[in-house]
Symmetry: C2
Subunit: 299 residues, 2 copies
């Protein structure tokens, strides 16, 4: 991990976030485009100060494989639209019923439930519209790219995770059941983002395999840490309602195996993720730094 | 319209509906696939006895251009998934708040609001997963196909129509404002379906232009007739709540221009649609029959 220490992650995140924000602004219809309500609602959540973690890992994976940021950018924007749509719908009263997200009132609190549902729908649709505008990568033509995104976001992955999460509330889950949820709810889209980065750089099969292992493990670690932060941080620190998991009796790693063991699990997953990056022989410094950052974050 | 009379539309619809149902059944995860709830919910609405009108016009357009049904089938299934998702979300309490659809309780009435939102999300995502599995059409590669579907379903078309519809409730709208809604809420996806049929047959630019004009006008006619049926038919006849538009003070063609003029408008739109089909020189009998059927339907 020596390389990580010489790498300026804050600068990487700042420049990439800025580039992603500019690209998203261009892809999305303006706030004035009729009907203005839907475009205001889409932009409200898309530009609510998200960490752009999925675009960041996507762009970092592209760089690790020698790709260009401009080739990867439409895919980075597409995954961010999917992530934002999933948050808008998850926050709805019929789901997690959250009033705050990233320190701001949730979409339905501002625009009403009907428009919030539609804003989510529109961002999901927009993701595919944007992804279809990427250039054609020789090894990964558009149909493969679209399939990659649709599968990671569909009823067997992202949505499966949310359904299992909803159904698990108030129930005692096993570690395996919780892992089923985490793999789908968080790991799937994060792993997909990392794979898409590689694809946009026309990566080899071996590189794609390494990125997949990295993404899977970082994704799981990310969610374990989310669970930990929910019980150890305040709402102000998180910018969203803390202690929510305990309040709705949601099964989490801390609630099943305790805080200390949860931290260990997150560290082990991160170690596995790091091991997967060997193949890049020091060219994956941004990915390494991101994984370390995700493990040590406090919000 | 002589050709229409010799064409057995009922047989066409029966065989095509059957083929579409079989294809959808193959594309969708089984009811037992974990988490079972979401797949049950997706299939509940997808197989609730819908008229399969969008797949039918898509397949008819493909045939008019000399294409094969098997090439068009993934796209026919994709547009039906989009249509079904839009109905599930439109029926939600936060939107049209409908308890019945096609004579059966609406999705959220059976599975609850949270799952209904997710089932809609999953069908929308599934549409792109299925569309990405179509073969590569020389003139219309996958990126064009995906863009076509995403644009017709996005915040400038299908979703724009639903937002404008929501915002128009209880307001006095002009004919132009109503047309803005109808063009987006109904015509966009119907027109997209017809265009996709042509694309799957690798149609010429002139054929695509003709199909677009046909689809636009049939789509508008379809919605005008929907408005008419809402005030002239009973709930039993429609299989959904009749008189709904009047109850929620929704602007409709009958409420703005009266029943008789509404019928005239529908007829004029259908005539324009027919005129567009001239280019096919008698090879578009299925499309002609469908347009006639849509004009004369009573549910």
């Amino acid at each position: 991990m020596v390389a990580t220490k010489q790498f300026d992650l804050q600068q990487f995140l700042a420049t990439r976030t800025d580039a992603v924000n500019r690209a998203l602004d261009k892809f999305l219809p303006s706030e004035k485009t009729k009907p203005a309500t839907i475009h205001k609602a889409m932009r409200y959540s898309l530009f609510a100060g998200g960490k752009r973690m999925r675009p960041a890992v996507l762009l970092a994976a592209a760089e690790a494989c020698g790709g260009k940021g401009s080739d990867a950018m439409p895919l980075a924007c597409a995954v961010e639209c999917i992530h934002t749509y999933s948050l808008i719908h998850d926050d709805l009263p019929a789901m997690d019923n959250d009033d705050f997200r990233r320190g701001k009132p949730t979409n339905h609190k501002v625009f009403g439930e009907g428009v919030a549902v539609l804003a989510g729908d529109a961002l999901l649709t927009q993701a595919f519209e944007i992804a279809a505008q990427c250039k054609k990568f020789p090894r990964y033509p558009h149909n493969k790219i679209i399939l990659e995104i649709a599968k990671a976001s569909g009823s067997l992955q992202l949505i499966a995770g949310q359904v299992a999460d909803l159904e698990g509330e108030g129930k005692k889950l096993s570690v395996d059941e919780l892992k089923f949820i985490h793999e789908r709810k968080t790991s799937a889209l994060l792993c997909c983002s990392i794979r898409l980065g590689g694809m946009s750089a026309n990566c080899s099969a071996a590189q794609l395999k390494a990125l997949t292992a990295f993404g899977y493990n970082v994704g799981l670690a990310f969610q374990v840490i989310d669970d930990i932060l929910d019980v150890t941080q305040t709402s102000e620190q998180l910018g969203k309602t803390a202690g929510k998991d305990v309040a709705v009796q949601k099964a989490t790693y801390p609630s099943i195996v305790g805080l200390e063991k949860s931290r260990k699990i997150a560290e082990q997953l991160t170690a596995k993720a790091f091991a997967a990056l060997k193949i890049f022989k020091g060219n994956a410094v941004a990915l390494e730094a991101l994984a370390e950052y995700l493990l040590k974050r406090n919000k």
